[in-house]
């Protein structure tokens, strides 16, 4: 197998942490007294969640109060921020991902800031060399399968090619990349894998009776086995099987679903200081805080993604169940930005017409 399934252990991260060991809270770039008493606004998407007390820790540390404003999903948040560029809704944005990044950069949403905490963040996540955005977390979009539906006669598909194999005809449900974030990520995975050949691949998937839904909810709860549908393979997240365990009722020991790691596409979420902020120093302190262990260790169980900082340790529940593909598919944000509309248009012609 080309990609090794890596169940992330605390040990691995602890080792990484030891290599890059440094203070858990990097010093702020500005003197604290200048920002004490300020209130700044963090603009984010609806999936943003923190444990009670986490943002208060930032206030205790810096004297800055954080107000959170959510503005729809990632697409809505980016579109909203582009409309309000120059007179932003807040001071820092958190949650723009690598699929929307180029659009945000083209609109000059952000002011550059190189956080000292970036020393703890792998270069593979630092996708903007100009530091207009700072990576905060990452996760993977992958095909999930319903374990019970596969056995020796029908083994679990291992690769993207397998999904197009007639043996797996009528089993896959995907989301429309024109209307869904995981749908777009999966299309990007196939483009990363097959290059120019992606169009032929999707013709094969179409011949193999792929079902397309508008969004994740109707794929997972409408067509996938988990929600009572009859399709045993769905495009979801690498963190979906652990959610099936953590939110099982009645409780279960193992997830009923698994992840096909050869299909995964890496999504990285970033934070950036919104151009036009009147609280630049406080905004810098907040970006630093988002990379601090306090925030980074709070991320996994709230948002089901991995912390970007290697000094953050992972909660056991996460470690036990979440798989981390070693070599997921990726594409440069500039490529995605330049081509995504053309790609999704072409995809629509091939798959839906």
């Amino acid at each position: 197998m080309r990609r090794v399934l890596l169940t992330v252990g605390v040990g691995v991260l602890a080792a990484l942490g030891a290599i890059t060991a440094c203070g858990s809270d990097p010093p702020s770039a500005t003197s604290p007294e200048s920002i004490v008493g300020q209130t700044i606004t963090l603009v984010t998407h609806d999936s943003f969640r923190v444990s009670p007390g986490t943002l208060e820790a930032f206030t205790t540390e810096t004297g800055v109060t954080v107000v959170v404003q959510s503005a729809g999903d990632t697409g809505q948040m980016v579109a909203t921020s582009i409309l309000t560029v120059g007179n932003p809704l807040g001071d820092v944005m958190y949650g723009v991902d690598n699929t929307f990044l180029q659009r945000a950069l083209d609109a000059e949403l952000f002011e550059a800031y190189e956080s000292p905490a970036l020393v703890n963040v792998p270069m593979s996540l630092q996708l903007d060399p100009g530091h207009r955005v700072t990576p905060i977390d990452f996760g993977d979009v992958c095909a999930n399968y319903w374990i019970d539906r596969f056995d020796d006669d029908l083994p679990v598909p291992a690769t993207l090619d397998d999904l197009a194999d007639p043996a797996y005809r009528g089993l896959l449900v995907v989301e429309n990349p024109e209307t869904s974030s995981p749908g777009l990520a999966f299309l990007l995975a196939t483009i990363a894998e097959f290059g120019e050949g992606w169009e032929d691949y999707w013709r094969l998937l179409r011949d193999n009776d792929v079902v397309v839904t508008a969004g994740w909810e109707d794929a997972y709860y409408g067509e996938f086995v988990s929600g009572g549908g009859d399709r045993p393979i769905v495009i979801s997240y690498a963190s979906s099987p652990p959610a099936e365990v953590i939110y099982a009722d009645p409780p279960v020991d193992t997830a009923p679903t698994g992840v096909i790691i050869d299909t995964c596409f890496r999504q990285v979420e970033f934070a950036g200081i919104l151009a036009g902020t009147t609280h630049r120093a406080a905004a810098e302190a907040l970006v630093d805080f988002l990379l601090s262990d306090t925030f980074q260790e709070d991320v996994p169980l709230n948002m089901f993604v991995f912390p970007a900082s290697t000094t953050a340790s992972l909660p056991p529940a996460f470690v036990d169940h979440v798989v981390l593909p070693e070599d997921p598919h990726t594409l440069a944000p500039a490529d995605i930005g330049a081509n995504r509309n053309a790609w999704t248009e072409r995809w629509t012609e091939i798959v839906l017409r």
């Binding site: 606004t41 603009v43 609806d46 999936s47 943003f48 969640r49 444990s51 107000v67 959170v68 404003q69 959510s70 503005a71 729809g72 999903d73 697409g75 809505q76 980016v78 579109a79 909203t80 582009i82 409309l83 309000t84 007179n87 809704l89 659009r103 429309n176 024109e178 209307t179 397309v212 839904t213 508008a214 969004g215 994740w216 909810e217 109707d218 997972y220 709860y221 409408g222 988990s226 929600g227 009572g228 979801s236 979906s240 099987p241 959610a243 099936e244 953590i246 939110y247 099982a248 009722d249 009645p250 679903t257 169980l301 709230n302 089901f304 509309n341 999704t344 839906l352 017409r353």
Partner: protein
């Protein structure tokens, strides 16, 4: 004067100005070229045609399904009538994805979805869902108006030898027409701007102007194309409302409220009507109730108990979200009643052009996409003294904009149907105009006000689209948004809680509607006694 200024200011600041701002922004870029180029685009013609025909078919079917029920509610008294009426409004608060899966489960259960015929991802799924969501609009607005019509006219027709159908066509329908036109125009606008139904139930190949505006603005980052489509939508909605208002005015016939004691229905009539209503409304609801109780292989109230605790996926507990929704709904309903009530008076009593402009203008928010309004508010209301972008008032204001047309569409036909001789008689007897309004209009219109308020309330409780576009602090999460978030992560626990929350939201809606309407009935009961 206040009656003119207040609604005009409300509409101007919170609707016309934002929409003008976003349209202006979009058109100054490439939007104008896109707009001019639209007529040559085959895909645009397909989208426009599909938007129109699915809305027309949905509206006609909704009216046909609802009229028998409206008759039952208007003309007969039976046990459970008030509860049945209140229950008809609950579809408003149900998220599409939940209703869609309930319908799918129903088809599954009755063996209809066995592979030969599949409802999901067909145009019929869209139409069935539109009937389900909108049947209450016709049922209630027409029903409330019908109740006010004197049945003696029908009885005279019957005495003169007309059969029941002939009586309905020649006597009842012409008199009902203003209310039917009013209700149908609301349903039509709802169907042209419906979003989740098209995307989720219609499948990926179907698109309307509404879904295309969203796709271009949010997914493609193409404000110019989105604006071009938004302009088309706006023009189409204005044209449609103008026509509907004409129809409504031309056919308005003065009448007097009935002093007759309502009849009790025959068993067969009641049974047939209830069966129809139950099929359309209650079966999907029953599926949700069953799912909210299912735990493993048995049943339990566990999911309901868990709603008080915060799941770590939500910023607040589901119960807090429900409380937020309730507060927003109270404010939105109050706003809709004040603005819609005053505007109705202007429409009925105002001079020709002012009356027509109000009648048109306050309907428009129903027909404009949530993206247009949401984005418009963001770029228009961003400077002092109107820096309201992050204000807690913005969500109830957006909800009220949708509620106002309901208040007006129930109130205007009723106010118009009040016989002017009643007012004149009161004036002759020395009543001041205010007194005439208080003693004549208000009591007779009480039922209509209550129905309008109930709709404004239910719509606010269930509103998703515009709410999701407005910036919010996470702890002001509303129940529909919480539901959506719960369904956004796998796990039976979350799904069970989402279903329990949906059921609570329905119960809350039904209970509030019941309370609102019992107050309305009190108002109209007084005048009945006096007549």
């Amino acid at each position: 004067m206040v009656a003119v200024v207040l609604p005009a200011a409300f509409l101007g600041v919170f609707f016309l100005y934002p929409v003008a701002a976003i349209v202006g922004r979009g058109l100054t870029g490439d939007g104008l070229d896109r707009l001019v180029g639209l007529h040559a685009s085959a895909s645009f013609r397909n989208v426009a045609w599909f938007t129109l025909w699915q809305a027309v078919v949905s509206t006609v079917l909704t009216v046909l399904v609802a009229l028998p029920g409206a008759h039952l509610l208007a003309r007969y008294r039976f046990r459970g009538r008030a509860v049945l009426r209140a229950l008809t409004t609950v579809p408003f608060v149900l998220p599409t994805v939940v209703v869609g899966s309930a319908f799918a489960a129903l088809f599954d259960r009755f063996g209809l979805d066995d592979g030969t015929f599949r409802l999901q991802h067909t145009v019929w799924a869209i139409i069935v869902a539109h009937v389900f969501f909108n049947v209450a609009v016709v049922l209630r607005t027409v029903g409330a108006f019908w109740e006010g019509l004197d049945p003696a006219v029908e009885e005279q027709a019957r005495v003169l030898g007309a059969g029941p159908w002939r009586t309905f066509w020649s006597v009842t329908l012409p008199r009902l027409w203003p209310a039917v036109a009013a209700a149908a125009s609301i349903v039509f606008l709802f169907c042209t701007t419906s979003f989740g139904v098209i995307l989720i139930l219609g499948g990926p190949t179907r698109a309307t102007l509404e879904t295309e505006i969203w796709r271009h603005a949010v997914w493609r980052g193409d404000l110019a194309s989105a604006t071009a489509l938004a302009v088309v939508q706006l023009v189409a909605v204005v044209a449609m409302v103008v026509v509907a208002n004409r129809l409504q005015r031309r056919r308005a016939i003065g009448g007097r409220p009935s002093a007759r004691r309502p009849q009790r229905p025959t068993k067969r009539l009641l049974g047939a009507n209830l069966a129809l209503l139950a099929t359309v409304l209650l079966l999907p609801v029953a599926v949700l109730v069953e799912r909210s109780l299912a735990v493993g292989d048995g049943y339990s109230l566990r999911h309901y108990g868990a709603l008080a605790d915060r799941v770590n996926l939500l910023p607040v507990s589901a119960l807090v979200a429900l409380r937020n929704s309730l507060l927003f709904a109270v404010v939105a309903t109050a706003l809709a009643l004040v603005v819609g009530g005053l505007a109705s008076l202007v429409v009925v009593h105002g001079r020709g052009s002012v009356s027509r402009i109000f009648d048109l203008g306050l309907m428009l928010p129903l027909g404009v996409s949530a993206v247009t309004l949401g984005f418009g508010m963001l770029i228009a209301l961003d400077d002092p003294p109107l820096d309201l972008r992050t204000s807690r008032w913005l969500v109830p204001v957006a909800h009220a904009l949708v509620g106002i047309p309901f208040v007006m569409r129930t109130l205007v036909p009723t106010l118009r149907s009040i016989d002017d001789r009643l007012r004149e008689a009161a004036a002759v007897l020395g009543a001041s105009p205010t007194r005439v309004f208080r003693e004549i209009d208000l009591p007779i219109a009480g039922r209509a006000v209550a129905v309008g308020a109930a709709f404004a309330f239910a719509i606010s409780l269930g509103e998703f689209g515009a709410t999701s576009f407005l910036p919010r602090q996470p702890d002001r999460l509303t129940a529909p948004l919480a539901l959506f978030r719960l369904l956004g992560t796998p796990g039976d626990l979350l799904r069970g809680q989402a279903m329990a929350l949906a059921v609570l939201l329905m119960l809350l809606t039904a209970a509030c509607v019941l309370v609102i309407e019992s107050r309305g009935r009190f108002g109209s009961g007084v005048v009945r006694g006096d007549l």
